[in-house]
Structure formats: C-alpha cells, structure tokens
C-alpha cells in the first residue's frame, strides 16, 4: 500500500519572521533546505533535462523541448476542436463519476449494512473488481459505438468499484453498539441510515471518491485512446502521426496536471472529513 503524502499543516512559528514560513521551514532555516525546495528543484531539473535532452537529440519529428511544448500549449488551446475535446472529457468525467458515486454509495450502503448481505455479495463484487476490464473494451465499443457513450460507460465501470468497496468497508466498521443503541431508542430504518450509517461512512467515502476519480479518469482515457474519432485520444494520435511532438507533449502534460490537481483536491477533502478518525 503506497504511502499517501505528508502532513501539509504548516505550523507558523510565532517569531514573526516574515516570508520565512512560505516553504514550511523553521525560523532561521534557509528555504533552500526544505523538502518543497527539493521538489521544485527536481521538477526544474527534469524540465531542464527535457529541454536540453530534446535539443541534443534533435529530431523534430519525435522530440520537442520544454519551451517549445509550452508555447504550443498556448497554441493548441486556441484550436476550437481541441477545446471541445477537453471540454468533452471533463463533462464525461463528471457524468461518469456522478453515476459511479450515486450507485456506489447506495449499493455500498445496502450491501455493507448487514453481515449476511456483506458475506453474500462482497465476494462477488471483489471478483468482478479483479476482472481485467480492458479485455471487454472492444466488446463495449461494438455495443455503444465510438461516441461519448462508451467513454461515460467505461469511466463508470472503472470508478464504480473503488467507491462501492470503500463504502462497504466503512459501513462494516460501524460499532454494532451504536446501532443497537439507536434501535433501542426507537429509530426507524431511514433514521438509522441518515444519522448513523451515513455520517460514519463519510471518511471511507472520500477515500473511495479519490480512488474512484482516478479510476474514472483512467476509464475515460482508455476509451478515448481506443475509440478515437474526436476527443483527446484522437488528438494524441493525430499529433503523433503528424509528427508534431510539441503539441502531443503539451496535451499530455495538461491532462496530467489536471489529474494531479483533482487528486490533490480530493485528498485534502478526504483529510478534512476524516479528522474524527484520528
């Protein structure tokens, strides 16, 4: 289980040293020695390596240096077709994720709430989760064609599983004493769901959402790359085949950056909502 990030809470020292805390370092400590500086340094090094390595390699058909790619980033985002493709990817992502979240949460609660349903359905869910979905992508394309439908569907099938599995885990961990106490106070089924089960699930839900978002994006990109006609996948092939590597780099870098930002946002939400877990 790869470790997840660091504690980002930067404690501001009380000595009033202005600007000293920007990188999270202690008072008196040079900002050059903070891990943040190292990371920036590594990124700068990678970009420099990219820049000079590309120029040395000097094959404009296959390689483009960083500066050139950055310039083409500005260019390609002027292209209305590219903009449409980016916009399409985001609304497909939103729709697929919403579907995965809705169904994953509801079914997850239904399965996770009681021991018998858990023991019946969880093994099956895990079995399907382990199934390599990429093998049925061509089949799904036969069924759904190569329009937006296949992307939303494949995004949904990928995003659904991390969410439902985490919701089930969160529901299963509820202290039975809480449920007994609620029932003894006369709570109805719906009240139990709303007041006990659901709040208790929230941290696990956010974990599932973070993983589910990554998975949904993965599904959409896979569908894009396979079933290209227009869309990000189309453009990546197009730029590659027309030997415009700077555009390809720019596009890929942009999507990567978007994925990182989304993941970061969800990770922060997960930390914030998971605080009561200690």
């Amino acid at each position: 289980m790869p470790i997840d990030g660091e504690n980002r809470a930067a404690k501001a020292p009380a000595d009033g040293a202005s600007g000293a805390i920007a990188f999270g370092q202690a008072p008196g400590e040079s900002w050059l020695r903070t891990p943040m500086a190292t990371r920036l340094g590594v990124i700068v090094l990678i970009v420099l390596f990219w820049e000079f390595g590309a120029r040395i390699y000097n094959d404009a058909d296959f390689m483009a240096p960083a500066t050139q790619s950055f310039v083409s980033l500005l260019e390609i985002t002027q292209d209305p077709e590219v903009l449409t493709a980016i916009y399409d990817m985001f609304w497909q992502l939103a729709l697929a994720f919403a579907m995965a979240l809705f169904s994953g949460l509801l079914l997850g609660m239904a399965v996770g709430i009681s021991r018998p349903t858990y023991r019946t359905f969880f093994p099956i869910i895990m079995m399907v989760y382990a199934f390599p979905q990429i093998t049925v992508l061509p089949l799904l394309v036969l069924l759904f064609g190569i329009g937006p439908a296949i992307k939303v569907v494949f995004g949904f099938t990928h995003g659904f599983f991390p969410i439902i599995v985490n919701v089930i885990a969160g529901a299963q961990n509820i202290d039975p004493a809480l449920l007994t106490a609620a029932k003894s106070m006369g709570a109805t089924r719906s009240q139990i769901y709303r007041r006990i089960v659901f709040p208790h699930l929230v941290p696990s839900l956010f974990t599932g959402m973070r993983l589910g978002m990554t998975a949904t994006l993965l599904g959409i990109i896979l569908a894009e790359l396979y079933a290209t006609r227009k869309g990000i996948g189309y453009f990546t092939s197009f730029y590659a085949e027309s030997f415009e590597p700077q555009n390809l780099f720019a596009l890929v870098a942009m999507i990567a950056a978007a994925a990182i930002i989304l993941n970061e946002l969800l990770r922060r939400a997960e930390t914030r909502f998971g605080r009561w877990r200690g």
Binding site: I3, P35, L218, V252
Partner: protein
Amino acid sequence: MTDSKIRIRLIQVSMFAVIFVAWFIATETESVSNLFLPKLGDVATDFRDLIGSGDAWSPLSVTLFELVVAFFNAVVFGTSIGYLVSRSKFLMRAFEPMFSSMFAVPLIIFYPLALLFFGLGPGSKIAIGSALGFFPVVLNTINGFGHVDAGYMRVARSMGAKGFPMFRRVLLPAALPIILTGYRIGFILCFLSIVGGETIGSFSGLGHQIVFYAESMLTSMMFAYIIFIVIIAYILNSLVFYLEKKGNYY
C-alpha cells in the same frame, strides 16, 4: 456448513446461474444478435480450439515477454531508487509525496508518447508497463526501508552491527513484507497496462487478439480470448499472492 453459509452459497450460485441461463436463452433465440453475444457453445468450441491448436501461445509469449521485461525494469529501478531515497529523511520528505502525486495520474495518458518513440511493437508496451509498475515498487520500497522500527536498529547497533550486516540482517528482513506487497501491486499494474497497450495500439500480443477478432466481428473467438486472458491473469495473480505471503513473517 451452517444454515446461513448454505443460504449465502445458494444465492451466489444462483446469481451466476441466472446470468448463464439468460445468456443462453438470449443467444439461442437470437433475441440478441450473435454478433454481440455469441452462443455459449460457439465460445466453448473456439476456446477449445484456441488451446488445442496452439494459436494462443504466440500472442501469449509476446505478452509474457513484455511483462517480464517491464516488471524487471520496475523492480530494478524502483527498488534501487527507493532504497537510496530511504537513506535520508530529507529525501523521503521530498520524494515520497512527489511519487505519490505522480502515481495519482492515470499514467496511461503517456502511452501515445511511448507509441511515438517505440512504435507499435513490444517496446511501447514494455515502456508503459515499466512506468506504471515503477510507482508502487518505489513507494513501497521507500516506505519499507524508511520506516524500519528504530528499536531494531538501536539493538543491532549496540551489538556492533553496521554496513552490510546491518542491511542484510535488519533492514532487509524488516522491510521485506512491505516491499513484496509493492512488487505484487506493481506486477498487476504491469500486466494490466501491457494488455491495455496491446488493445490500444499493437500488432501482437493477447490484447491485440481481442481487438482483431472484435473488428473482424468474430465475437465468439473474441470471448474465447477474453476467457483465456482472465485465466492467465488469475494464474499470475495467484502466483504473485502466494510469493508475497511466503515472504511475510507476520
């Protein structure tokens, strides 16, 4: 078996039975076109032919070759870089979150780059497999080596351990379970990304076979290959889980 266990098994089995029966009826009566959902009998026949004729072995060997090379790369680079990073708290604080964030990106988007550099052959699959397998390995190696219980190290130091004996007798055994988990996850990612790469752009390998038969509308053969891949995946996964457990002393 207790009463509830029997009931659970019954429900699970009947779920599969229902799907099976529905498929059978739909395909035999052709209420669903056989181009989408082939007859079960056809799939069975094609699967048998696949194994028997040995047609599957060539694409299988391509995929396995790509898998072995990619996993080897992931392990070598991931373990060595992970170990080096773990030697300094500073490096760990810098790189662990960085690798973690990079891992959050669906790295398959870099696959077009791999296709650009390596073409449609095994090279691009090995590249993307190595890249994806690298991250769980490096993250778990950093975690494993970097968070060895200080108590073990202190005891060993007091007895005169340092350098290679310290590594061999303390660091490595302490870190091994976590590192092996990283290898397992990395292996699975290698496999999935390689088959994915073969689906998206390739002229060989198991993934490509599925695409080929899909595009030729020979869906029963496509299903046969899907079953074949699932079986291979299951065998590989079981093997990897077993190896991981063997290294685990808890």
